[in-house]
């Protein structure tokens, strides 16, 4: 082989190799100088952000607010909860009657409701959707919502082919008969899990509906590029009239700092994070766009009452409560966010007791209770593990609690693990109590009823992995909560819940009561129709929004 041959080809190669990146760089430069596309189009687009892709788009499987954010815009159920007033309003059903014994609910379906594929909605679709939620094969974590219906359990078990209490006398009527009166039943039907689904899409064994859901809500599902964005398109055939927005885009941005910068640069129209209040530069830029509003939920540190040292030691739990300075936490350390909590039931929910003393920061009391608990000045108490899942805010809170407890002599070890390991350790199983002695948790309410927080988290029927991770068992508490379910007079119910809360808080100190959530969201001034819902930042009724550029 002549040595000159390959060498001749080399400069050619080298030249090509040099040209290509130059071309790329040139393209990039051109793209930069081209500038960002002008937002002033005829099209109305609303862009907001989520940390990551929603866990599921199947209403039956939805168990978190991110999935619900999408589902509640794509689907509708029999009734809906007005995000602003928290009233129950007609949706697919335009009217309903409840029998005098509070056991029979008769729904009359609206005319002209269609699915996104064009087909009209009938009562059989409603029945199909409810049965699907109950079916064992669906594996819905929220199956319990429909348990009050007569015959629901037998249907799930498979001993019966149909649900006894579910009837569709004609195309426009659905009748639900409950085994016992259940006050929050109608509220439960407003939840995302009770969406009305078209059987032809949701019977698909390939489960294509997980990536292309079809419902009867105001928006159709558009494109979904994982880790990038989800696109929702206005549905012309929506019974409530076509939404003002043409499109809604959900962008997946994990990093909070990056997301804030993107909002400021104009790439987002709304953001669920807000800058630090003391950050004068940021606040000058976006201060007027920050909206703060209460959000029905409570944050806390749970104690595992089946494990030492908290088992049977209420004094110790009270000591911990007095040691943590919640005011400092929420007003100085992480300002502008949540409100220090004195109990369990958030403000605005019937049963909330603003006079409940709770456990304000009191180092002296903390020390005395610690001694009472059998560990004077912390002596004899081995390090206690506090489990949190990875997340920028959790670490800060955990560290602060660690420091607070150190001042009275208690050593806390922080276990920060990813969600999978965290939930496994905290929930344990029916037989073993899990590993987490203390764990950080938060619970937001799906509807404005104290039952929605007291029962799932503290009722002994949910003992263990079903939700009562702290494994609290108090028959007096249970009895009060149960009674409140059967009673219909709202004043009486509120009083029962107040009493139950007092037991859990003042007598048993089941948690370290940290905060009532307050949501803080950024909205660009040209977004109109914004609803600041106590149901949370991700209750976004997109059909109410419109973009009015020109108002800056």
């Amino acid at each position: 082989m002549r040595t000159s041959e390959p060498r001749a080809s080399l400069p050619g190669l080298a030249r090509a190799a040099l040209l290509l990146p130059v071309a790329l760089a040139g393209m990039a430069f051109l793209a930069c100088t081209r500038g960002r596309p002008s937002p002033e189009r005829a099209e109305q687009v609303f862009r907001f952000r989520m940390h990551e892709d929603p866990p599921t788009l199947d209403p039956a499987l939805s168990n978190d607010q991110f999935s619900e954010a999408v589902i509640l815009n794509v689907h509708r159920g029999l009734v809906e909860l007005d995000p602003e007033t928290l009233e129950i309003r007609p949706a697919v059903a335009d009217s309903w009657t409840i029998s005098p014994d509070n056991r029979v609910y008769t729904f009359h379906l609206r005319d002209g409701v269609r699915f996104h594929n064009g087909r009209p909605v009938t009562s059989q679709d409603v029945a199909y959707s409810l049965r699907r939620l109950l079916k064992k094969e669906t594996r819905s974590p929220r199956r319990f919502l429909l348990e009050p219906i007569e015959g629901a359990q037998e249907f799930t078990d498979g001993t019966s082919d149909a649900v006894r209490g579910l009837a569709t006398p004609n195309d426009r009527t659905v009748v639900l008969r409950l085994a016992r009166p259940f006050a929050p039943f109608l509220s439960e039907l407003t939840m995302a899990n009770a969406a009305v689904l078209p059987r032809e899409v949701y019977d698909d064994p390939q489960k294509a509906y997980l990536r292309a859901p079809v419902g009867c809500g105001p928006f159709r599902f558009g494109r979904w590029e994982q880790s990038n964005f989800i696109e929702l398109l206005a549905f012309d055939g929506y019974y409530g009239g076509r939404p003002a927005l043409d499109r809604a885009v959900i962008r997946m941005i994990e990093n909070k700092t990056s997301a804030l910068q993107e909002y400021i640069a104009g790439g987002l129209d709304s953001l669920d994070e807000t800058p630090d209040e003391n950050d004068t530069a940021m606040m000058a830029k976006v201060g007027q766009e920050v909206h703060k509003y209460p959000f029905m939920g409570t944050g806390y540190i749970g104690f595992n009452l089946s494990l030492p040292p908290f088992k049977g030691n209420a004094a110790l739990r009270k000591a911990f409560n007095y040691a943590v300075d919640k005011k400092y936490l929420w007003e100085v350390l992480i300002p502008g966010g949540n409100i220090p909590a004195n109990g369990i039931i958030p403000p605005g929910i019937p049963g909330h007791d603003k006079d409940l003393p709770g456990y304000p920061h009191d180092e002296a009391k903390a020390r005395s209770f610690l001694a009472q608990a059998g560990y004077p000045a912390g002596k004899g108490l081995p390090p206690v593990a506090l489990w949190v899942n990875t997340g920028e805010g959790n670490r800060q809170i955990a560290s602060q609690i660690q420091t607070d407890l150190k001042t009275i002599g208690v050593t806390i070890v922080i276990r920060e693990v990813d969600w999978a390991a965290y939930i496994a350790a905290v929930s344990g199983t029916k037989d073993n109590a899990g590993q987490a002695q203390m764990f950080r948790f938060g619970w937001y309410l799906d509807y404005p009823d104290a039952d929605a927080i007291l029962r799932p988290l503290l009722h002994s029927s949910n003992w263990g992995p079903a939700g009562n991770f702290g494994r609290y068992k108090n028959p007096e508490f249970d009895a009060l909560v149960d009674k409140a379910l059967a009673v219909t007079d709202p004043k009486e119910r509120a009083e029962l819940y107040r009493r139950a809360e007092t037991i859990a808080v003042m007598d048993d100190a089941v948690w370290i009561f940290l905060n009532y959530y307050q949501a803080s969201t950024l909205y660009k001034p040209y977004v109109k129709g914004v609803v600041l819902s106590p149901l949370g930042e991700f209750r976004l009724p997109l059909e109410r929004l419109r973009i009015e550029r020109g108002t800056h």
Partner: protein, 276 residues
């Protein structure tokens, strides 16, 4: 010039006045607070003195850097020597293994393995270490990082094996292991020094990367990577919280790299002189 820079490099892990865990910021002001007379670098997101945390962080970074590299050196040298000396099938097998380890996406593996150890404080092996969660990090990094070292050692051994003094030792009837330890190893080690110093820098960067992604030193340990994560939120208003640890990493790793450079320069000149 290089040597001077190299000597400036690694921060001495002496403890300075304050406790890196104590919250010293005034209770009324929202942390982080700017540099002041009491806190030369200000405080971090929880009101703790940043300078002390930075210095303590040096200890952690160095712990990871040095120990991980040491473990990698141990394993790598042992395996490389075995391969280079024994030759034949042992060599082939070990080299395949090395290829395998090199082909794995190391950072992802490290992440996965560390995520699999949820409670370093109670794991028997790690419990005895002063900072168990850091222990996981350097153990994992060490166990993943031996491959390139093994390659190098093997190459050196192959080269040295043929040289006169090794042949001479064998001719005198010296036993295999003795040859290895006494004669081959010391000579093979010289180029390793360069790799080691560069490795320390690399492992420090890896530790920062792991901490940034949430696996790494557990709170309240002041790892530089964690400090960057905590500080990024406040970057525009209070940049020092995020800049300081980043700069610290930069300076330390730079120092090690310069050191490695300087050593390799000296080795090269020496080698060239020998040849000439």
């Amino acid at each position: 010039m290089f040597v001077v820079c190299a000597l400036l490099a690694p921060l001495l892990p002496a403890s300075i006045g304050y406790d890196p865990y104590a919250q010293v910021a005034p209770r009324s002001v929202s942390p982080p607070t700017p540099p002041s007379r009491d806190n030369w670098l200000g405080t971090d997101t929880l009101g703790r003195d940043l300078l002390s945390r930075l210095v303590f962080g040096a200890r952690i970074s160095l712990e990871v850097g040095v120990l991980a590299t040491a473990i990698a050196l141990l394993i790598g040298t042992a395996l490389g020597a075995a391969a280079g000396y024994a030759g034949g099938r042992t060599d082939a097998f070990l080299m395949r293994a090395t290829d395998l380890v090199l082909a794995f996406p190391a950072p992802l593996l490290a992440l996965a393995i560390i995520a699999a150890v949820p409670e370093p404080e109670t794991t028997p092996l790690l419990r005895s270490l002063p900072h168990p969660s850091v222990g996981v990090v350097f153990l994992v990094l060490g166990c993943l990082g031996w491959a390139s070292i093994a390659r190098l050692v093997r190459a050196e051994f192959l080269r040295l094996r043929e040289q006169d003094f090794a042949q001479a030792a064998q001719a005198m009837g010296a036993h295999g292991a003795r040859v290895v330890l006494r004669h081959l190893l010391p000579n093979a080690l010289r180029p390793l020094i360069v790799v080691a110093t560069l490795g320390i820098g690399g492992n420090i960067l890896m530790e920062a990367w792991l901490s940034f992604l949430g696996v790494g030193a557990r709170p309240p340990l002041p790892s530089w990577g964690t400090m960057i994560t905590e500080g990024q939120e406040y970057f525009l208003a209070k940049p020092w919280v995020c800049l300081a640890p980043g700069l610290a990493i930069l300076l330390v790793v730079l120092g090690f790299n310069l050191l490695g450079d300087a050593i390799s320069d000296r080795l090269d000149t020496r080698r060239r002189q020998r040849v000439a």
